[in-house]
């Protein structure tokens, strides 16, 4: 089961207009930059992107917004911390102008909704967001002596994930805090595309060390290790 694609452009070529795409990465760590860049070149429109942030530490996603490829963004920390930098951000400008639909979830709820989709769970009750704007329009229910919100599973069509090492069958190993959203985003999507720094043969990865079991990954593409200084300022 060789899942290797020759390059990032081939790996994203079939993404249709209107697709939903979960994109991993916590600020700069574990972000599949080459796949985002390929998507900008590919040009699919009316996309729903599901990712932590729309700018800070994920500058390349701005090009998707500038290209008007993004219809909707589902995030947990979309904006720059600095209001002045935010004022210059294509995403914040689009959001203010009503040209970008945006939904923001608490970080844990965000990834738990994706996990639920991958795990065949339709919905779950979480205490996070009770008594805040997050509860708007959601069912509230008491278990024990506490209130919880009902959150539904969120299934993307595609996921862009990132790994330190991957084999041809799609088994992935992540490195340190670059693991972040990768495992559950890969499991959540119908088609998960993994950008891997190191591509190896099946058997070269210790089976106890796999962070993303291969069955969750449909496409693997080798990319160069990025070289940057982590910062969102």
């Amino acid at each position: 089961m060789d899942k290797v694609y020759p390059g990032v452009d081939e790996a994203v070529a079939d993404i249709p207009d209107g697709a939903s795409i979960a994109i991993s990465g916590f600020f700069t760590a574990g972000t599949p930059i080459p796949l985002i860049q390929a998507l900008a070149r590919q040009g699919a429109k009316d996309l729903t992107v599901i990712c932590m942030q729309m700018g800070p530490g994920n500058e390349d996603i701005n090009q998707l917004v500038i290209n008007k490829q993004v219809k909707r963004a589902i995030c947990n920390y979309p904006f720059y911390r600095s209001a002045s930098r935010g004022a210059d951000s294509p995403t914040e400008q689009a959001a203010r102008a009503g040209k970008l639909e945006m939904v923001v979830y608490p970080m844990g709820t965000f990834i738990e909704k994706l996990r639920a989709a991958g795990a065949g769970i339709a919905a779950f009750y979480t205490p996070i967001g009770v008594g805040t704007v997050v509860e708007t329009g959601k069912e509230k229910r008491v278990f024990g002596d506490r209130e919880y919100l009902l959150e539904l599973a969120l299934q993307p069509d595609y996921a862009f994930v990132y790994a330190y090492k991957g084999d041809r069958m799609g088994n992935l190993v992540c490195h340190m805090t670059a693991r972040n959203y990768n495992p559950e985003m890969a499991a959540s999507a119908k088609i998960a595309i993994a950008a891997v720094e190191s591509l190896v043969e099946p058997g070269e990865i210790n089976g106890d060390m796999v962070h993303v079991p291969g069955v969750y990954v449909q496409r693997v593409v080798k990319v160069d290790r990025p070289d940057y200084f982590p910062t969102i300022d």
Binding site: A95, V104, Y105, I111, P230
Partner: protein, 228 residues
Amino acid sequence: MNTAKKFKGLSRELMALRVANELEDGTCVNLGIGIPTLVSDWIEGRDIILQAEIGMLNTGPLAAQGEVEQDLINASCQPVTELPGSCYFSECESFAMIRGGYMDTAVLGALQVSENGDLAGWQNPSRGLPDNIGNIGGSMDLAVGAKKVIVAMIHVTNDGEYKIVKECTYPLTARGVVKLIVTDLAVIEVTPEGLVLQEVAAGLTAKDIQSVTEPKLIVSPDLMEIQF
């Protein structure tokens, strides 16, 4: 209330030290963005486990220039280091851990804290964004999930407005969760009876603190100067 800062209090570093002294050995702590992050400078060598919501336990000090590993950052996107016993896990696991009650303490920044411990910290309406979008990040999860929430913040806004208020007017992070407020001017405990002023910065009085605090403060019979 006038629009200038009335009082000079602790530096951000000393606020962080005061918070560090509040933490107990043998506990697991998450430090939010801003002043809370500085707390880590004061607990090196102590038996406290720092959790980073990005998916790490036992986060070490900031990485020195030249020792930066780009795959090793904290929740503020700062390059950090490992300690003996550090481990990594996914974001989903990290928030399972936070919601599941494994944070003994979360130290968070805030824009407003109310008399009953409501916390507003994720959106400043002055930015002009709709009130249902903004950088929620992990703040709600930490505020609700942690066993104890300590807020570390400057006592008033840059314009001298109250941040400790009767009712929060900014979008809420969580209701009724704050247990202790450490500011540059005072240490205030949130109790069922109301806000109890426990400590004041050197040179300040309870009356001074009340003048920059909207709700009526209960002055502790043991009121003292902030100790380090």
